[in-house]
Amino acid sequence: MSGLERGLLFRLVERARRRSAWLFHFNAGSCNGCDIELVACLTPRYDVEQVGILLEGSPRHADVFCVSGPVTRTTRAALETVYGQLPDPKVVVAIGSCPATCNVFAGSPAIDGPLDRIIPVDVYVPGCPPRPHAIIAGIAQAIETLVRRPASGKERSS
Protein backbone atom coordinates (compact mmCIF):
# COMPACT_ATOMS: atom_id res chain seq x y z
CA MET A 1 0.00 0.00 0.00
CA SER A 2 1.41 3.39 -0.94
CA GLY A 3 2.03 6.13 1.60
CA LEU A 4 -0.86 8.26 0.40
CA GLU A 5 -3.40 5.44 0.54
CA ARG A 6 -2.17 4.46 3.97
CA GLY A 7 -2.58 8.02 5.13
CA LEU A 8 -6.12 8.26 3.75
CA LEU A 9 -7.13 4.94 5.25
CA PHE A 10 -5.70 5.91 8.63
CA ARG A 11 -7.52 9.23 8.55
CA LEU A 12 -10.78 7.45 7.68
CA VAL A 13 -10.34 5.04 10.59
CA GLU A 14 -9.54 7.92 12.96
CA ARG A 15 -12.63 9.75 11.81
CA ALA A 16 -14.76 6.63 12.24
CA ARG A 17 -13.41 6.06 15.76
CA ARG A 18 -14.15 9.64 16.72
CA ARG A 19 -17.70 9.46 15.39
CA SER A 20 -18.78 6.06 16.59
CA ALA A 21 -17.78 5.36 20.19
CA TRP A 22 -19.82 2.60 21.76
CA LEU A 23 -19.96 2.41 25.54
CA PHE A 24 -20.22 -0.53 27.85
CA HIS A 25 -21.30 0.26 31.38
CA PHE A 26 -20.03 -1.88 34.25
CA ASN A 27 -21.43 -1.50 37.76
CA ALA A 28 -18.67 -2.52 40.18
CA GLY A 29 -20.70 -2.15 43.36
CA SER A 30 -22.00 1.33 42.64
CA CYS A 31 -24.96 2.75 44.58
CA ASN A 32 -26.77 3.37 41.22
CA GLY A 33 -26.33 7.16 41.47
CA CYS A 34 -23.67 7.37 38.75
CA ASP A 35 -25.50 4.76 36.66
CA ILE A 36 -28.60 6.94 36.54
CA GLU A 37 -26.50 9.95 35.51
CA LEU A 38 -24.80 7.94 32.75
CA VAL A 39 -28.16 6.78 31.38
CA ALA A 40 -29.35 10.41 31.50
CA CYS A 41 -26.75 11.22 28.81
CA LEU A 42 -28.75 9.12 26.34
CA THR A 43 -32.08 10.86 26.98
CA PRO A 44 -33.47 13.54 24.64
CA ARG A 45 -32.04 16.26 26.91
CA TYR A 46 -28.39 15.34 26.26
CA ASP A 47 -28.77 12.91 23.30
CA VAL A 48 -25.20 11.67 22.90
CA GLU A 49 -26.29 9.56 19.91
CA GLN A 50 -25.87 12.78 17.88
CA VAL A 51 -22.13 12.08 17.87
CA GLY A 52 -22.58 8.35 17.37
CA ILE A 53 -22.27 7.31 21.01
CA LEU A 54 -24.35 4.25 21.86
CA LEU A 55 -24.74 2.27 25.06
CA GLU A 56 -24.11 -1.34 24.00
CA GLY A 57 -25.40 -4.45 25.70
CA SER A 58 -22.28 -6.54 25.14
CA PRO A 59 -18.67 -5.69 26.13
CA ARG A 60 -17.46 -7.28 22.88
CA HIS A 61 -19.12 -4.49 20.88
CA ALA A 62 -17.72 -1.62 22.95
CA ASP A 63 -14.85 0.88 22.65
CA VAL A 64 -15.27 2.81 25.88
CA PHE A 65 -15.46 0.93 29.19
CA CYS A 66 -17.38 3.00 31.76
CA VAL A 67 -16.98 1.73 35.32
CA SER A 68 -18.89 3.01 38.32
CA GLY A 69 -18.53 1.86 41.92
CA PRO A 70 -15.58 1.21 44.25
CA VAL A 71 -14.90 -2.35 42.93
CA THR A 72 -16.15 -4.68 45.63
CA ARG A 73 -14.44 -8.03 46.14
CA THR A 74 -17.35 -9.90 44.55
CA THR A 75 -17.25 -7.86 41.33
CA ARG A 76 -13.48 -7.89 40.82
CA ALA A 77 -13.22 -11.16 38.87
CA ALA A 78 -16.13 -10.17 36.60
CA LEU A 79 -14.53 -6.76 36.04
CA GLU A 80 -11.27 -8.34 34.89
CA THR A 81 -13.09 -10.81 32.58
CA VAL A 82 -15.23 -8.12 31.01
CA TYR A 83 -12.22 -5.82 30.53
CA GLY A 84 -10.49 -8.64 28.65
CA GLN A 85 -13.53 -9.08 26.38
CA LEU A 86 -13.41 -5.52 25.01
CA PRO A 87 -11.63 -5.57 21.64
CA ASP A 88 -8.56 -3.32 21.20
CA PRO A 89 -8.24 -0.33 21.00
CA LYS A 90 -10.21 0.47 24.15
CA VAL A 91 -10.29 3.16 26.82
CA VAL A 92 -11.52 3.09 30.42
CA VAL A 93 -13.51 5.88 32.03
CA ALA A 94 -13.97 5.87 35.81
CA ILE A 95 -17.41 7.40 36.46
CA GLY A 96 -17.78 9.03 39.90
CA SER A 97 -15.59 9.32 42.97
CA CYS A 98 -15.87 5.65 43.96
CA PRO A 99 -13.67 4.09 41.22
CA ALA A 100 -11.16 6.95 41.61
CA THR A 101 -10.66 6.92 45.39
CA CYS A 102 -13.16 4.43 46.89
CA ASN A 103 -14.93 7.51 48.28
CA VAL A 104 -16.64 6.80 51.65
CA PHE A 105 -15.87 3.09 51.31
CA ALA A 106 -12.08 3.59 51.51
CA GLY A 107 -10.50 1.15 53.95
CA SER A 108 -13.41 -1.27 53.95
CA PRO A 109 -12.34 -4.93 53.89
CA ALA A 110 -15.05 -5.63 51.28
CA ILE A 111 -13.48 -3.25 48.75
CA ASP A 112 -10.67 -4.14 46.31
CA GLY A 113 -10.54 -0.69 44.67
CA PRO A 114 -9.71 1.90 43.63
CA LEU A 115 -10.17 0.91 39.99
CA ASP A 116 -6.64 1.81 38.81
CA ARG A 117 -5.17 -0.90 41.05
CA ILE A 118 -6.96 -3.47 38.87
CA ILE A 119 -7.13 -2.14 35.28
CA PRO A 120 -5.50 0.91 33.62
CA VAL A 121 -7.77 3.98 33.75
CA ASP A 122 -7.64 6.72 31.08
CA VAL A 123 -10.09 9.33 32.33
CA TYR A 124 -11.47 10.04 35.79
CA VAL A 125 -14.82 11.81 36.13
CA PRO A 126 -15.07 12.81 39.83
CA GLY A 127 -18.36 13.61 41.55
CA CYS A 128 -20.85 11.87 43.78
CA PRO A 129 -22.54 11.54 41.37
CA PRO A 130 -21.01 13.60 38.52
CA ARG A 131 -23.41 15.63 36.39
CA PRO A 132 -24.20 14.33 32.88
CA HIS A 133 -22.20 17.31 31.47
CA ALA A 134 -19.11 16.10 33.29
CA ILE A 135 -19.65 12.52 32.13
CA ILE A 136 -20.03 13.66 28.51
CA ALA A 137 -16.85 15.78 28.81
CA GLY A 138 -15.01 12.78 30.25
CA ILE A 139 -16.19 10.50 27.46
CA ALA A 140 -15.19 13.10 24.85
CA GLN A 141 -11.68 13.21 26.36
CA ALA A 142 -11.57 9.40 26.37
CA ILE A 143 -12.55 9.34 22.68
CA GLU A 144 -9.58 11.59 21.84
CA THR A 145 -7.32 9.07 23.62
CA LEU A 146 -9.03 6.23 21.75
CA VAL A 147 -8.47 7.86 18.35
CA ARG A 148 -4.72 8.06 18.90
CA ARG A 149 -4.37 4.61 20.46
CA PRO A 150 -2.90 2.02 18.06
CA ALA A 151 -4.81 -1.24 17.65
CA SER A 152 -2.53 -3.96 18.98
CA GLY A 153 -1.61 -5.63 15.69
CA LYS A 154 -3.32 -8.70 14.32
CA GLU A 155 -5.75 -10.92 16.12
CA ARG A 156 -3.80 -13.41 18.16
CA SER A 157 -5.12 -16.97 18.32
CA SER A 158 -4.60 -19.11 21.40
Binding site: L12, V13, R15, A16, R17, R19, S20, P44, D47, E49, Q50, V51, G52, E56, G57, S58, R60, H61, D63, G84, Q85, L86, P87, D88, P89, A151, S152, G153, K154, E155, R156, S157, S158
Partner: protein
Protein backbone atom coordinates in the same frame (compact mmCIF):
# COMPACT_ATOMS: atom_id res chain seq x y z
CA UNK B 1 -24.04 -11.44 -22.69
CA UNK B 2 -26.25 -13.27 -20.22
CA UNK B 3 -23.32 -13.89 -17.87
CA UNK B 4 -22.28 -10.25 -18.17
CA UNK B 5 -25.80 -9.17 -17.29
CA UNK B 6 -25.93 -11.48 -14.28
CA UNK B 7 -22.54 -10.25 -13.06
CA UNK B 8 -23.72 -6.67 -13.48
CA UNK B 9 -26.83 -7.45 -11.44
CA UNK B 10 -24.76 -9.12 -8.72
CA UNK B 11 -22.01 -6.51 -8.43
CA UNK B 12 -23.53 -3.20 -9.55
CA UNK B 13 -27.32 -2.87 -9.62
CA UNK B 14 -29.32 -3.99 -7.70
CA UNK B 15 -26.29 -5.82 -6.27
CA UNK B 16 -23.48 -4.82 -3.96
CA UNK B 17 -22.34 -1.48 -5.41
CA UNK B 18 -25.87 -0.10 -5.07
CA UNK B 19 -26.98 -2.09 -2.03
CA UNK B 20 -24.12 -1.26 0.36
CA UNK B 21 -24.55 2.56 0.31
CA UNK B 22 -28.32 2.10 0.12
CA UNK B 23 -28.25 -0.20 3.15
CA UNK B 24 -26.25 2.38 5.11
CA UNK B 25 -28.64 5.10 4.02
CA UNK B 26 -31.68 3.04 5.08
CA UNK B 27 -30.20 2.17 8.48
CA UNK B 28 -29.12 5.79 8.99
CA UNK B 29 -32.55 7.08 7.98
CA UNK B 30 -34.27 4.66 10.33
CA UNK B 31 -32.07 5.71 13.27
CA UNK B 32 -32.47 9.40 12.46
CA UNK B 33 -36.27 9.16 12.15
CA UNK B 34 -36.58 7.06 15.30
CA UNK B 35 -34.53 9.69 17.18
CA UNK B 36 -36.77 12.50 15.84
CA UNK B 37 -39.91 10.64 16.93
CA UNK B 38 -38.39 10.35 20.40
CA UNK B 39 -37.66 14.08 20.55
CA UNK B 40 -33.92 13.73 19.87
CA UNK B 41 -31.73 14.90 17.00
CA UNK B 42 -30.17 11.53 16.39
CA UNK B 43 -26.98 10.55 14.55
CA UNK B 44 -26.07 11.83 11.07
CA UNK B 45 -27.19 9.72 8.10
CA UNK B 46 -23.62 8.53 7.55
CA UNK B 47 -23.50 6.90 11.01
CA UNK B 48 -23.85 3.23 9.91
CA UNK B 49 -20.93 3.68 7.48
CA UNK B 50 -18.63 4.97 10.22
CA UNK B 51 -19.79 2.20 12.56
CA UNK B 52 -18.73 -0.43 10.03
CA UNK B 53 -15.34 1.22 9.37
CA UNK B 54 -14.64 1.47 13.08
CA UNK B 55 -15.60 -2.15 13.70
CA UNK B 56 -13.42 -3.35 10.79
CA UNK B 57 -10.40 -1.57 12.33
CA UNK B 58 -10.70 -3.26 15.72
CA UNK B 59 -8.63 -6.24 16.84
CA UNK B 60 -10.70 -8.59 18.98
CA UNK B 61 -9.60 -10.54 22.01
CA UNK B 62 -8.11 -13.98 21.23
CA UNK B 63 -10.45 -16.92 20.69
CA UNK B 64 -10.18 -20.59 19.85
CA UNK B 65 -9.43 -21.05 16.13
CA UNK B 66 -12.47 -23.25 15.41
CA UNK B 67 -14.82 -20.83 17.12
CA UNK B 68 -13.30 -17.80 15.39
CA UNK B 69 -13.62 -19.53 12.01
CA UNK B 70 -17.24 -20.46 12.56
CA UNK B 71 -18.17 -17.00 13.80
CA UNK B 72 -16.59 -15.44 10.68
CA UNK B 73 -18.07 -17.92 8.20
CA UNK B 74 -21.68 -17.49 9.33
CA UNK B 75 -21.98 -13.70 8.76
CA UNK B 76 -20.01 -14.09 5.50
CA UNK B 77 -22.57 -16.64 4.31
CA UNK B 78 -25.35 -14.23 5.29
CA UNK B 79 -23.77 -11.37 3.30
CA UNK B 80 -23.16 -13.65 0.29
CA UNK B 81 -26.71 -15.01 0.18
CA UNK B 82 -28.15 -11.50 0.47
CA UNK B 83 -25.95 -10.43 -2.45
CA UNK B 84 -27.41 -13.31 -4.45
CA UNK B 85 -30.95 -12.41 -3.42
CA UNK B 86 -30.42 -8.80 -4.53
CA UNK B 87 -29.13 -9.92 -7.92
CA UNK B 88 -32.35 -11.92 -8.50
CA UNK B 89 -34.70 -8.96 -7.97
CA UNK B 90 -36.46 -8.30 -11.29
CA UNK B 91 -35.74 -4.57 -11.56
CA UNK B 92 -34.71 -4.51 -15.21
CA UNK B 93 -37.51 -4.54 -17.74
CA UNK B 94 -37.72 -7.41 -20.19
CA UNK B 95 -37.33 -11.14 -19.62
CA UNK B 96 -34.78 -11.84 -16.94
CA UNK B 97 -34.30 -14.61 -14.43
CA UNK B 98 -35.38 -18.21 -14.97
CA UNK B 99 -38.22 -20.56 -14.06
CA UNK B 100 -38.12 -21.21 -10.32
CA UNK B 101 -36.20 -18.10 -9.34
CA UNK B 102 -39.01 -17.17 -6.94
CA UNK B 103 -38.15 -20.27 -4.90
CA UNK B 104 -34.43 -19.48 -5.02
CA UNK B 105 -35.04 -15.88 -3.94
CA UNK B 106 -37.27 -16.92 -1.03
CA UNK B 107 -34.57 -19.42 0.04
CA UNK B 108 -31.74 -16.89 -0.17
CA UNK B 109 -33.75 -14.43 1.92
CA UNK B 110 -34.19 -17.16 4.53
CA UNK B 111 -30.47 -17.96 4.88
CA UNK B 112 -29.40 -14.88 6.93
CA UNK B 113 -31.92 -15.59 9.75
CA UNK B 114 -30.68 -19.19 9.72
CA UNK B 115 -27.07 -17.96 10.03
CA UNK B 116 -28.15 -15.72 12.89
CA UNK B 117 -29.74 -18.66 14.71
CA UNK B 118 -26.65 -20.84 14.17
CA UNK B 119 -24.29 -18.10 15.30
CA UNK B 120 -26.35 -17.55 18.43
CA UNK B 121 -25.87 -21.20 19.35
CA UNK B 122 -22.26 -21.35 18.11
CA UNK B 123 -21.22 -18.44 20.32
CA UNK B 124 -22.11 -20.57 23.39
CA UNK B 125 -23.36 -17.52 25.25
CA UNK B 126 -26.55 -17.94 27.25
CA UNK B 127 -27.87 -14.65 25.80
CA UNK B 128 -26.95 -15.80 22.31
CA UNK B 129 -28.84 -19.03 22.86
CA UNK B 130 -31.98 -17.34 24.16
CA UNK B 131 -31.84 -14.88 21.23
CA UNK B 132 -31.33 -17.72 18.75
CA UNK B 133 -34.28 -19.66 20.18
CA UNK B 134 -36.51 -16.63 19.83
CA UNK B 135 -35.27 -15.95 16.30
CA UNK B 136 -35.97 -19.58 15.34
CA UNK B 137 -39.50 -19.45 16.75
CA UNK B 138 -40.40 -16.09 15.27
CA UNK B 139 -39.09 -17.01 11.82
CA UNK B 140 -41.18 -20.19 11.78
CA UNK B 141 -44.23 -18.19 12.87
CA UNK B 142 -43.59 -15.41 10.36
CA UNK B 143 -42.92 -17.71 7.43
CA UNK B 144 -46.44 -19.18 7.57
CA UNK B 145 -48.14 -15.99 6.25
CA UNK B 146 -45.04 -14.97 4.23
CA UNK B 147 -44.75 -18.18 2.24
CA UNK B 148 -48.53 -18.57 1.97
CA UNK B 149 -48.71 -15.13 0.34
CA UNK B 150 -45.91 -16.06 -2.08
CA UNK B 151 -47.65 -19.34 -2.94
CA UNK B 152 -50.87 -17.41 -3.56
CA UNK B 153 -49.06 -15.04 -5.94
CA UNK B 154 -47.39 -17.92 -7.79
CA UNK B 155 -50.65 -19.90 -8.06
CA UNK B 156 -52.55 -16.89 -9.35
CA UNK B 157 -49.89 -16.21 -11.96
CA UNK B 158 -49.54 -19.91 -12.82
CA UNK B 159 -45.74 -19.62 -12.74
CA UNK B 160 -42.72 -19.70 -10.45
CA UNK B 161 -40.83 -17.28 -12.68
CA UNK B 162 -40.51 -13.93 -10.88
CA UNK B 163 -40.98 -11.78 -13.97
CA UNK B 164 -44.10 -13.79 -14.88
CA UNK B 165 -45.48 -13.61 -11.35
CA UNK B 166 -45.00 -9.85 -11.21
CA UNK B 167 -46.72 -9.38 -14.57
CA UNK B 168 -49.52 -11.90 -14.41
CA UNK B 169 -50.77 -11.97 -10.81
CA UNK B 170 -54.27 -10.37 -10.70
CA UNK B 171 -54.75 -7.46 -8.31
CA UNK B 172 -57.52 -9.28 -6.43
CA UNK B 173 -54.87 -11.69 -5.15
CA UNK B 174 -51.97 -9.30 -5.15
CA UNK B 175 -53.44 -6.86 -2.62
CA UNK B 176 -54.15 -9.34 0.21
CA UNK B 177 -50.78 -11.00 -0.49
CA UNK B 178 -49.11 -7.58 -0.25
CA UNK B 179 -50.81 -6.92 3.09
CA UNK B 180 -49.63 -10.27 4.47
CA UNK B 181 -46.05 -9.69 3.30
CA UNK B 182 -46.00 -6.12 4.63
CA UNK B 183 -47.12 -7.58 7.96
CA UNK B 184 -44.06 -9.85 7.90
CA UNK B 185 -41.61 -7.09 6.94
CA UNK B 186 -40.96 -5.69 10.47
CA UNK B 187 -40.68 -9.28 11.75
CA UNK B 188 -38.02 -10.15 9.19
CA UNK B 189 -36.12 -6.91 9.90
CA UNK B 190 -36.37 -7.58 13.67
CA UNK B 191 -37.90 -4.16 14.34
CA UNK B 192 -40.22 -3.21 17.21
CA UNK B 193 -42.76 -4.64 18.09
CA UNK B 194 -41.12 -7.84 16.81
CA UNK B 195 -37.58 -7.16 18.08
CA UNK B 196 -37.69 -10.36 20.13
CA UNK B 197 -34.47 -11.92 18.93
CA UNK B 198 -32.10 -8.98 19.12
CA UNK B 199 -33.97 -7.65 22.21
CA UNK B 200 -31.62 -4.76 22.94
CA UNK B 201 -30.51 -4.62 26.61
CA UNK B 202 -33.00 -7.32 27.62
CA UNK B 203 -30.79 -10.06 26.11
CA UNK B 204 -27.64 -7.88 25.92
CA UNK B 205 -27.39 -8.14 22.14
CA UNK B 206 -29.18 -11.45 21.45
CA UNK B 207 -27.42 -13.80 19.02
CA UNK B 208 -24.75 -11.16 18.32
CA UNK B 209 -23.62 -10.87 21.96
CA UNK B 210 -20.30 -12.66 21.38
CA UNK B 211 -19.48 -11.02 18.03
CA UNK B 212 -16.72 -8.41 18.01
CA UNK B 213 -14.74 -6.20 15.64
CA UNK B 214 -14.76 -7.27 11.96
CA UNK B 215 -17.15 -10.15 12.62
CA UNK B 216 -19.72 -7.74 14.02
CA UNK B 217 -19.06 -5.42 11.08
CA UNK B 218 -20.05 -8.27 8.74
CA UNK B 219 -23.33 -8.61 10.59
CA UNK B 220 -23.92 -4.87 10.34
CA UNK B 221 -23.34 -5.15 6.58
CA UNK B 222 -25.72 -8.12 6.40
CA UNK B 223 -28.33 -6.13 8.28
CA UNK B 224 -28.08 -3.22 5.84
CA UNK B 225 -28.29 -5.58 2.85
CA UNK B 226 -31.30 -7.27 4.47
CA UNK B 227 -33.10 -3.92 4.50
CA UNK B 228 -32.37 -3.29 0.83
CA UNK B 229 -33.22 -6.85 -0.21
CA UNK B 230 -36.50 -7.11 1.69
CA UNK B 231 -37.83 -3.67 0.81
CA UNK B 232 -36.71 -4.25 -2.79
CA UNK B 233 -38.44 -7.64 -2.76
CA UNK B 234 -41.73 -6.08 -1.65
CA UNK B 235 -41.45 -3.29 -4.23
CA UNK B 236 -40.57 -5.52 -7.20
CA UNK B 237 -43.20 -8.10 -6.30
CA UNK B 238 -46.06 -5.64 -6.06
CA UNK B 239 -45.24 -2.80 -8.41
CA UNK B 240 -44.81 -4.08 -11.95
CA UNK B 241 -41.86 -2.09 -13.32
CA UNK B 242 -42.74 -2.27 -16.99
CA UNK B 243 -41.72 1.09 -18.34
CA UNK B 244 -39.59 0.76 -21.47
CA UNK B 245 -37.27 3.40 -20.02
CA UNK B 246 -34.85 1.53 -17.77
CA UNK B 247 -34.04 4.71 -15.87
CA UNK B 248 -37.69 5.15 -14.85
CA UNK B 249 -37.83 1.58 -13.53
CA UNK B 250 -34.68 2.07 -11.50
CA UNK B 251 -35.88 5.40 -10.10
CA UNK B 252 -39.29 4.01 -9.13
CA UNK B 253 -37.63 1.01 -7.49
CA UNK B 254 -35.22 3.16 -5.45
CA UNK B 255 -37.85 5.70 -4.39
CA UNK B 256 -40.45 3.11 -3.40
CA UNK B 257 -37.83 1.18 -1.39
CA UNK B 258 -36.98 4.38 0.47
CA UNK B 259 -40.66 5.18 1.12
CA UNK B 260 -40.98 1.96 3.14
CA UNK B 261 -38.26 3.09 5.58
CA UNK B 262 -40.18 5.94 7.30
CA UNK B 263 -43.25 3.69 7.60
CA UNK B 264 -41.17 1.03 9.36
CA UNK B 265 -39.51 3.69 11.54
CA UNK B 266 -42.91 5.03 12.65
CA UNK B 267 -44.04 1.52 13.56
CA UNK B 268 -40.78 0.82 15.42
CA UNK B 269 -40.91 3.98 17.50
CA UNK B 270 -44.65 3.84 18.22
CA UNK B 271 -44.69 0.31 19.63
CA UNK B 272 -43.10 -1.67 22.43
CA UNK B 273 -41.66 -5.18 22.24
CA UNK B 274 -44.19 -8.03 22.28
CA UNK B 275 -43.81 -11.39 23.98
CA UNK B 276 -43.34 -14.36 21.70
CA UNK B 277 -46.87 -15.65 22.39
CA UNK B 278 -48.39 -12.24 21.64
CA UNK B 279 -46.37 -11.90 18.43
CA UNK B 280 -47.46 -15.39 17.34
CA UNK B 281 -51.08 -14.59 18.06
CA UNK B 282 -50.89 -11.34 16.12
CA UNK B 283 -49.14 -12.88 13.12
CA UNK B 284 -51.36 -15.93 12.91
CA UNK B 285 -54.64 -14.18 13.67
CA UNK B 286 -54.18 -11.31 11.19
CA UNK B 287 -51.21 -12.04 8.94
CA UNK B 288 -52.10 -15.67 8.27
CA UNK B 289 -55.80 -14.79 7.86
CA UNK B 290 -55.01 -12.27 5.13
CA UNK B 291 -52.62 -14.73 3.50
CA UNK B 292 -55.34 -17.41 3.59
CA UNK B 293 -57.74 -15.02 1.84
CA UNK B 294 -55.08 -14.46 -0.82
CA UNK B 295 -54.61 -18.23 -1.20
CA UNK B 296 -58.36 -18.83 -1.52
CA UNK B 297 -58.76 -16.04 -4.08
CA UNK B 298 -55.78 -17.29 -6.06
CA UNK B 299 -57.63 -20.56 -6.73
CA UNK B 300 -60.49 -18.66 -8.37
CA UNK B 301 -58.55 -16.01 -10.22
CA UNK B 302 -55.59 -17.90 -11.58
CA UNK B 303 -54.35 -16.97 -14.99
CA UNK B 304 -53.45 -19.42 -17.72
CA UNK B 305 -53.31 -22.09 -15.03
CA UNK B 306 -52.85 -25.81 -15.27
Amino acid sequence: MNILRSLLALLVFPGLLYALPMGWLMLGLERKLRAHFQGRLGPPLSQPFYDVIKLLAKSPAPRMKSEAGLLTALPLLAVASLGGALALLPVWAGESGFVGDLVLLATLLEIPPLCLILSGYASRSIYGEVGATREALISIVCNVPFLAALVAMATAAGSLHLTQVVRAAPWVVRIPALLAILFCLPVKLRLNPFSLANAEQELLAGPLTEFDGPRLALWELAHGLEWVALTGFVVTLFVPLRSTQEAVNVLVFVLLSLVLVPLLAILASATARLKIAQATQLLWRWGAAVAAVALALSLFFRQGGH
